[in-house]
Amino acid sequence: MPNYHIVGQSVQRKDAARKVTGRILHVGNIEMPGLLQVAVLRSPYPHARILRIDKSRAEALEGVVLVLTGADIAAMPEVDPFFGPAFKDQPILAIDRVLHVGDPVVAVAAVDRRRAEDALQLIEVDYEPLPVVLDVLEAVKSGSPLVHQEFRPAGMFADLDHVEAGEKSNVCYHFKLRTGDVREAFQEADRVFEDTFTSPPAQHMPMEPHVTLVYLDENERINVWTATQSPSFVRTQLSNTLGLPMNRIRVRVPYLGGGYGAKLYAKLEPLVAVLALKTHQPVRYALSREEEFQTITKHGAVAKIKTAVKNGVITGRRCQVFFDTGAYADIGPRIVHKSGYTSAGPYRILNVWIDSFCVYTNKPPAGAFRGFGVPQVIWAYESQMDIISRELDIDPVQFRMRHALNEGEPFATGTPVHSFGLKESIEQAAQAIEWSRPRPPKKTQRVRGKGIASGVKAVLTPSISGAIVMMNADGSVNVLSSTVEMGQGSDTVLAQIAAEELGVCFDQVHIVQPDTDVTPYDTITAGSRSTYHMGNAVRLASNKIKTQLLSVAAKTLKAKPEDLVARDGRIFVTGCEEKGMTMGDVFLAKFGSLGTTITGEAIYQPSAVPTDPETGQSEKCTEYWFPSASAAEVEVDLETGQIKVVKFISVGDTGTAVNPKHCRQQLLGSALTHLGLTLFEEMVFKEGQLLNGSLLDYQIPSLKDLPGHFEPILVEVPHDTGPFGAKGVGETGTLTVSPAIANAIDDAIGVRIRDLPITPEKILRGLAEKDPEQHPVEASG
């Protein structure tokens, strides 16, 4: 690895001191005179027609400033009442129909939260219940009740050009991949394996729920402070929604209390903007935790996978994946596309047929969730990899290594893989869990087993990051970037990249927080893309400044620019450190005055070839891949079905780790979330009503759920166009957790679980089915 000075160091977070003192800025802490608070009346039905709304008593309540319905919004001539990133299918407030329990119907803005909530009690709404569709496999059948009569593409993203207008179906997007001859592969196979794996809808659970504040400034411009991962998108959405030029809208984002995909695209912003426009007062809407459950979820999915094997080699695979996107598509179609093409796995399989569907149901909308649909498909293919290898009596690690793609080999899309540390990741995981060590005899009530899983996700391509870097005459630097700091450490990593490229100290770099008046466009802070995309933009912009600095210094120092080095805020002749000058000297030499600035700007936009709509083939479907492997050792209690994770290893190919400590935290943090999703997290619905919609009933991992031994391993296969070789890591740790645990359980007790979460009840049922005499199970629901 080249000799970097700041890149590759686990430097301390820029925001640490502000976070331990509670001084860090969140949207909830912003104060403003006359600030109104919002409460929203939500649908009690999964699908119903709105017959009548009477809001007169609520309007008369003291302290209530505005009571707003969908009809009121539809009557605003300049406002488009529907929004959404893929389809314009979501009304700001319900119009005519409600499509899920918790669908917003009436909004109240009042002087304080309690007044707004009191007003909700005074609103009367009459509904006529309509037929509902809740199951994703029912929803795709013809004759099933329709959630939407038609859908209109939003036209917001280049990579969603392929979503089409449609009607008379609950399938709003269908991804297809066809390569080779799958029929022949199955005909000639000596073994065929067919399995179905399911994942339930679940919650992101950022500890900070969604919150948005909007006010009109002295120029009547729309000013938005919001907890979003996508400030640039929110501005575009509000421009479209309100019919205003983009420079009439200013979106600022302070620090986020977590995001994990929940805070992508527009959520509360259209409603709060309309309330601010109507009331001419600042308005804040902060969701309660219960509302959070009704606002955005992780996609539940059903994945059917059929695999042909001949002579111990996988020759063909057919995947059908049904993603439950709920009542509004949100970014579902992109999730189905990006996860869809990886559904057969990172393996050498010559004949592949994939159908992946984005399906409307009458449930709360599902959107991006750390991993972007890929954990749901890896759950299927990696569980089945173990089923096949055990059935064929081939070691599961060897079976994966036999099929894992090598550098330069084509993925199922036809795209050759590059910077692909998959095999290294599998090997590291196997070694760390002592895979080849003989298993102890299983004699006790608690039985141990080991499992391994691998997989890969591809970064969203194309996408765009712009950055402006300003160097001041004292050598200090301001970086203008719309990347959102939500805990991942982007401020720190971008400052490391700027400092490395410019040759200044890390502490001299300040990252300006997203502000669409000031910071350039960035697609989103998501999908493990910021270190690579924004990192490249910051590096390129910094390089433009450095070129100017070196050319001035070269004249003064009477040296060639290529013989100069910038480091720690000085520029000097290579190998002759005393012959140099400070950045301040360079500015004086260039401008003859201090107080000046040098500015560099760059836009980083990798290209992609769109996947063919019929075959899913593309010369280049993605800019980079991030392979993952997990290894688990579990202990299963045969009496209680309890599962203890004794050891868990999370391995990720991050490319060059710009800040190794952050990378390790990303691997473990995302793995822990997915341990929760694997073992107990699930949104439970009955007839469209959520049964566990609060943190009293929905559990997430606590300190007590940590594995006994919990270890991250970084595999650093540099990417040739990554900033200093970096890729991304935010989602890597999520990808392979669930199948690693299920495979370890199978190894321990010979029970194969196909439906997440893997609860003790399912373990006991599995034991009873396998061996009714040894494990009689009492009848249960």
Binding site: T21, E208, G258, Q665, S702, L703
Partner: protein, 156 residues
């Protein structure tokens, strides 16, 4: 109906006009503007809104403000500020025990109370004490290291 309530917060007496239903969280966040006190669940289970009441950690979203008049309330603002941090705050920084940081003030206060009560807790005692504080970023391993670091540093 608003009533005058006297709260002792971070060593200062605060005179507030509160409704009976106002929670301690609302009093601290909306009236005294202490930015570290944040709502995470509203039902007393996530620990994000933890404050110390006479030195013991409580969920401020689940306590009526008027009920704790006169008792000593501590938030991280009262623990230490930059340049003069509490050893627990220092340990959280050194051990990198934070990511988004939203839950961290609650954790710091809970750790502070734990170590004041029991300067050398076992691993099980630490887990038991902190089980009510949730961190979705998954910083728990680093938080445990921070607890260990304070424990090892304290005299005796």
């Amino acid at each position: 109906m608003k009533q005058e309530v006297l709260l002792q917060v971070n060593g200062t007496e605060e005179k507030l006009y509160l409704e009976d239903a106002d929670t301690l969280l609302e009093a601290l966040r909306d009236h005294i503007r202490l930015g570290s006190v944040r709502e995470g669940c509203g039902v007393g289970t996530c620990g994000t809104c933890t404050v110390l009441l006479d030195g013991r950690p409580v969920s401020s979203c689940f306590i009526l403000a008027a009920r704790v008049a006169g008792r000593e309330i501590t938030t991280v603002e009262g623990l230490g500020q930059e340049g003069a941090l509490d050893p627990v705050q220092d340990a959280f920084i050194e051990q990198r025990a934070l990511q988004c940081g939203y839950c961290i003030p609650g954790f710091i206060l809970a750790v502070k109370a734990l170590l004041d009560e029991n300067p050398s807790p076992s691993q099980e005692e630490v887990e038991e004490y902190l089980v009510g504080n949730l961190c979705r970023c998954g910083s728990y391993p680093d938080i445990l290291n921070a607890v260990r670091a304070v424990k090892d540093r304290s005299p005796g």
